[in-house]
Amino acid sequence: MTIRPYVTSFVLQWKIGLRYRLAVLAGLVAQMWFGAISLMAYAAVYHHAPDVNAPMTLRQAMTYTWIQQSFFTLLPLGCLPAIGEAAKSGAIVYDLLRPVDLWNWWLSASLARLLGNAVPRALLLALVAGPLAALVGLNGWSLAPPASFEAALLALVSFILGAFISASIVMWWNIVAARTLSPLGTYAVGTPLAVLLSGMLLPLPLYPDWARDLLLLQPFAGISDIPIRLYMGMPIPGGVVTALGIQCFWLLALTMIGRFWMNRTISRMELQGA
């Protein structure tokens, strides 16, 4: 078995992603805007309740928000658009006609699409929210550097695992799109689910005590919440082992169950029309 087709699939989606440079810029502006509004809200809340012992400091909440905003497009918001379109038009039959492992083939495309969208934005946003913000004197509002060199390394590993988890969830949406012959349902359900459960809307550490640990155990926490906590050196119950363990568990579970479900779907798929 050769790895070449999967690399090709990755490179193809990456190229298509980079073709839309204007979208990167527009997205960046939108994310800066949302980020700034969230920061002001946090600042207001924290300043009016100085005696509450919050699980995150204001500075941590700000850094958390900036990184979440940078990785907005890394979230599994729905199926891979190309697969959704193919499901609708019926061109999906050609995917089944390729001598490749369909899971790996779609996974590499999904991963490339997520990274192709997220990485350029994340780099730009990190530059603007980090050193540039500090230079113009917005030190208190900027993205803080990693807690330590070790934290940075751990976060990097964790971010990579997070990207794979996200791509695996996208794979589940791809299967839903193939089954329903439309991408729309996956966006309608996938977007709110991902935004809420990833900590994008409200950082997971700020949820009430009873919900906090449960939220850490669901797969969406592994996409960006866990990597961000490692980056900031925030305590996680059970430490680094739990953090990476949760991620590995979900990656494995999503892949194994997803593959099984996909094979079932393919063997029962009844493609309509000529």
Partner: protein, 322 residues
């Protein structure tokens, strides 16, 4: 040259479950798409697969391509069962669905072919040879660097055929490859398929609604209707019997008069200013029929043609229903 694989189909059945009303509350019903078909296509033969819409052609083609699992029956393409050895099977077939595109809209034709080279793991040397040969035969050199979205339908179809053949498939399945094409493009596609078989001994299964495709290409014709095989014979044999029929349309300047037709011709349609006559040229040669009609008053124009394939098949089915 590799030896091409034969296709062998035995007692193939496929039923679909459909839900009335399209919602989960509807009652499920079983629809039989294929009701036990058997046929063999020897290596290196071009077989035409014809029948009206909904006859089961597409279902059969999807099963042969390995993307659909039959309810029962056996299929062998070469030594493989398509749906059991999907990856090995699809690596040595090439498929063109005339109504779908397999090239990537955002990429140029050349980029798309290069991608397929990676997907099918075609060695660089063989890839270069195949690409140049296909570009020459399908006249693609002028459009190699254009993105697929900018191609005309005819150009795109030629590129699609090249895409399906870049990995030297032993069996080629063409599902309506000439649909929507203009005359020169159709001729180019037909010439190419003929050469492909002659030069490479490729086995070809072709579905079409265009009788001229069948006439130009097929050694054998398999007629399918309501999920069953109605006829499976060499093209000449089928032509001599069923496909020999011609239709004659006569236009009149006023209401058409009552016709008394000689043996071998029947009136099949009557309009306010025209009459359609179906005749068998072996029993009643066209000149005789024309001579017979030319004495009629108010006759404006006469046209002789072939009945549409659907019409032949529909009648064929009616004849074979019992």
């Amino acid at each position: 040259m590799k030896t091409a694989a034969a296709i062998e189909v035995r007692d193939l059945r496929k039923t679909y479950q459909v839900r009335d009303g399209g919602s989960w509350r509807g009652k499920t019903r079983e629809i039989t798409a294929l009701d036990g078909i058997s046929f063999t296509v020897p290596a290196g033969e071009i077989a035409g697969f014809i029948g009206p819409n909904g006859a089961g052609k597409s279902t059969a083609i999807k099963i042969l391509s390995g993307i659909l699992r039959p309810t029962s029956g056996t299929v062998r393409v070469g030594d493989l069962v398509p749906w059991e050895n999907r990856i090995a099977h699809v690596a040595r077939i090439g498929v063109v669905f005339g109504q779908r595109t397999q090239l990537w809209w955002d990429l140029s034709v050349a980029e798309g072919l290069a991608l397929l080279r990676d997907i099918y793991s075609v060695e660089p040397e063989r890839f270069r040879r195949n690409r140049d040969r296909l570009a020459e035969a399908l006249d693609l050199n002028g459009i190699m660097d254009q993105s697929v979205r900018q191609l005309s339908l005819g150009q795109r179809m030629r590129a699609e055929i090249a895409a399906a053949l870049i990995h030297d498939p032993e069996v080629v399945i063409l599902d309506e490859p000439t649909i929507g094409l203009d005359a020169p493009s159709k001729l180019a596609v037909r010439a190419f398929v003929r050469d492909l078989r002659r030069e490479r001994g490729t086995t070809v299964l072709l579905t079409t609604h265009d009788m001229h495709d069948i006439e130009a290409l097929a050694d054998r014709v398999i007629v399918i209707g309501h999920g069953r095989i109605l006829a499976d014979s060499p093209f000449e044999a089928l032509q001599a019997t069923t496909l020999s029929e011609r239709i004659l349309e006569a236009d009149f300047t006023g209401p058409p008069p009552a016709l008394f037709l000689p043996d071998g011709a029947v009136e099949t349609e009557r309009g306010t200013r025209s009459v359609t006559i179906t005749f068998d040229p072996q029993r009643l040669p066209a000149p005789a029929l024309v001579a017979h009609l030319s004495t009629l008053p108010d006759l404006g124009d006469l046209r002789i043609g072939r009945p549409a394939i659907e019409e032949i098949i529909t009648r064929f089915y009616a004849d074979h229903a019992s």
